[in-house]
């Protein structure tokens, strides 16, 4: 098994070992324009009962990371780095066969997708779709399965589960569909739940319900959750630890508290500043936006991938790409000139 990096050892919470370890994950795609590296050398652990947030803007590689773990990317276009490992129950999933993967998916690691309408089959009832997972992964009889499905729907606070079990996805609202997705994901009691933008398509009041539900289920079932999102508010609500990704790389990794109160990478700082503050504290003022756009993966700038948009750029940033360095307090950042205590003071004075 691969060596565990300092960073993850320092950040791990709980006494139990991690349930899932991702080591040096690199995912490449063969495309018409040549090979592109969508995820570059990403490592992390998740422990039972812990929620890890993976944050970033479109194209940063957060969804490819989750699909690589689940091996949902087609083998003829996606390939993984030689040193890449996804360790689950002592096996490297990146080298597992399709039949081994099928046992892991749903039973060991389950996933919730962003769009509950397109990930539910419109021609089958809610009950049928939950039954499918139970039939494959458990030895329960038909009647037991139905009882278990109703129990699952109750667990996710579905109103009228006895009636809803025989309804079709189009008869449900967006929030209820996402509850069904969560019920399907949890029905085999997975060790790890990957939630890819689970609330992005929902209204705020419904998002509030789903986030509260996820928090409640985590403490009740002790599931490890990997939450993928672009919404920092969602991260602040549910995550214990956060990894910020930019152009395929992890650029910052720390506890949620640290990332929000003491970000060390200028990109993380910029993301936090881009959100209008509630309470209208900067009302009417311009938001301190990050200039420019995310670079294309085919035309990455030399040195640090963020340097073209960074307001603290120096010559070293263009010449050398920084490594992901873990500070003594366990806060990791990929920046030559992190916004630490001393740097932060000068920043505060200039702005």
């Amino acid at each position: 098994m691969g060596q565990r990096s300092e960073q993850n050892r320092a950040n791990r919470t709980g006494a139990e070992g991690p349930v899932l370890s991702v080591r040096r994950l690199t995912t490449r795609f063969r495309t018409d324009r040549g090979i592109v590296t969508a995820v570059d050398d990403v490592s992390f652990d998740v422990a039972p009962g812990e929620t890890l947030g993976i944050v970033g803007e479109s194209g940063c590689g957060k969804t490819v990371t989750s699909k690589s773990i689940m091996r949902l990317l087609p083998d003829h276009v996606a390939s993984y780095g030689d040193e890449s490992e996804v360790i689950y129950r002592g096996n490297n999933l990146l080298r597992a066969s399709e039949s081994e993967m099928r046992k892991v998916r749903g039973d060991g690691i389950a996933m919730i997708f962003q769009e509950p309408m397109t990930s539910l089959n419109p021609v089958f009832t809610v009950g049928w779709q939950l039954n499918e997972a139970l039939k494959y992964h458990t030895k329960l009889r038909a009647r037991e399965r139905r009882a278990r499905i109703i129990e699952m729907l109750k667990l996710v606070d579905m109103p009228n589960p006895e009636k809803r079990i025989d309804e079709y996805p189009h008869q449900l609202s967006g929030g209820m569909r996402q509850r069904v997705m969560i019920a399907i994901a949890l029905c085999c009691e997975p060790d790890v739940l990957i939630a890819d933008e689970p609330t992005t398509a929902l209204d705020v009041t419904i998002q509030a319900q789903i986030l509260d539900l996820m928090n409640e289920l985590k403490s009740r079932l002790n599931t490890a959750i990997i939450l993928i999102t672009h919404d920092l508010g969602v991260v602040a609500q549910v995550c214990d630890r956060v990894q910020v990704m930019y152009a395929g790389r992890v650029i910052e990794s720390a506890s949620a508290r640290e990332v929000f109160h003491n970000p060390r990478h200028p990109y993380t700082r910029g993301l936090l500043d881009s959100i209008p503050k509630q309470g209208g504290k900067q009302k009417g003022a311009r938001l301190p936006a990050i200039g420019g756009i995310v670079p294309s993966l085919w035309e990455l700038p030399p040195g640090c991938r963020f340097q073209e948009r960074c307001r603290y750029k120096q010559q070293k940033c263009v010449d050398v790409e920084p490594d992901l360095v873990t500070d003594p307090d366990g806060h990791a950042r990929r920046c030559h000139f992190p916004l630490g205590t001393s740097a932060k003071l000068t920043v505060g004075a200039s702005s």
């Binding site: 803007e57 479109s58 109103p159 609202s173 967006g174 929030g175 209820m176 209204d203 705020v204 009041t205 419904i206 998002q207 509030a208 319900q209 986030l211 509260d212 672009h230 919404d231 920092l232 508010g233 969602v234 602040a236 609500q237 995550c239 949620a256 508290r257 929000f260 109160h261 910029g270 993301l271 936090l272 500043d273 881009s274 959100i275 209008p276 503050k277 509630q278 309470g279 209208g280 900067q282 009302k283 009417g284 311009r286 938001l287 301190p288 936006a289 990050i290 200039g291 756009i293 995310v294």
Partner: protein, 341 residues
């Protein structure tokens, strides 16, 4: 005088069904809405999906014809205007759509897209069109060489800038922005919001800004209309919004927004259940099925939108609320005040 005066605006969409494809019912998208927009003001419209905010936005510039009601633009009734009259006034009102991918014709270059409206409305003399296009592209913060590219060559944020350039091309006074930043990444969202603020100040635009994100509206707008199932349930200034908001729905929207601080975690759920279908809205107050403060009167009688002067930090401003519970609160406040005197 207000630039826009909307009175009792109603839009019902017919729903067809059955073998004969007859009208079997109607969707109550906008249900008797009245409000004003002052010149130079930015008014936000917030609400969840299906509350009628986009329909309202499109109806006030008559991209959708209203079922009933009146819309006055600059004191001129526009609901009864014919094609030609509407054409003249349309130059003054523009719209920016949510999805910059589907609102730009993929087969036209940026120059072509912008030139169409400029020529149609004769905005500048023919020999100055190219210079004007260059100027427009610069105005929205892009490089002039963008003019000869196609929409697919741009990122989402740049496309939204082009959407803004196209809206500005006819030198409008009034713009409806329908979720202009919802499809954009956070860092790009901030850039586009900043651009819109700059342009609004520079060109003295009047804006109606439609969004589901109360945080963005609070930041960007002067006043906000909160909609629920086709009704305005509250109207208030955005300054000190969290202190002013009275309607239980506005309070719920404020409470459901996650706060960007892991130290400040609290349960977010304020409302159970979903928005009822606008096909069969509930009787009484539209919000009664989910309201934490519901009582008997709400289930039978629709609360009126009551206007009052309300003060925060000593400054009174006009607010409107439609809620029986708030009425009771206000009565109690009044009698408590009278008792103290």
């Amino acid at each position: 005088m207000a630039l826009i005066e909307v009175r009792n605006l109603v839009k019902h969409f017919p729903v067809r069904g059955g073998v004969l494809n007859r009208v079997v019912g109607k969707v109550h998208a906008v249900n008797g809405v009245s409000f004003d927009v002052q010149r130079g003001e930015t008014v936000g419209i917030v609400g969840e999906s299906g509350c009628g905010k986009s329909t309202l936005g499109k109806t006030i510039i008559r991209l959708i014809d209203p079922t009933e009601g009146s819309i006055k633009y600059d004191d001129k009734e526009i609901t009864t205007l014919g094609h030609g009259g509407m054409m003249r006034i349309r130059r003054k009102m523009q719209i920016i759509f949510q999805d910059p991918y589907s609102s730009l014709n993929p087969r036209m270059t940026v120059r072509g897209l912008l030139r169409e409206a400029i020529k149609f409305h004769d905005v500048v003399p023919a020999n100055q069109v190219d210079d004007y296009i260059t100027e427009l592209i610069r105005t929205v913060g892009m490089r002039p060489d963008a003019a000869d590219k196609f929409p697919h060559e741009f990122s989402g944020g740049q496309r939204q800038r082009l959407g803004i350039a196209r809206a500005l091309s006819v030198k409008p006074e009034f713009i409806v922005a329908d979720e202009p930043v919802s499809a954009l990444d956070v860092s790009i969202q901030a850039q586009v919001l900043n651009l819109m603020m700059d342009l609004k100040e520079k060109l003295g635009l009047t804006l109606v800004f439609i969004s589901h994100d109360l945080k963005v509206v609070e930041h960007f707008c002067d006043r906000v209309l909160v909609m629920y199932l086709g009704h305005i349930v509250e109207e208030l200034p955005t300054r000190d919004l969290h202190l002013r908001a009275k309607h239980p729905y506005t309070r719920a929207l404020l409470g459901a927004n996650p706060i960007d601080d892991p130290d400040d975690r609290r349960p977010l759920t304020v409302l159970q259940g979903d928005v009822p279908s606008p096909f069969s809205p509930p009787p009484g107050c539209p919000f009664q099925t989910r309201c934490p403060r519901v009582h008997d009167r709400c289930r039978v009688e629709m609360p009126p939108l009551v206007t009052r002067e309300a003060g925060v930090n000593g400054e009174a401003e006009t607010e409107r609320v439609a809620c029986w519970a708030v009425e009771v609160d206000e009565q109690e406040k009044l009698s408590a005040g009278a008792g103290a005197r």
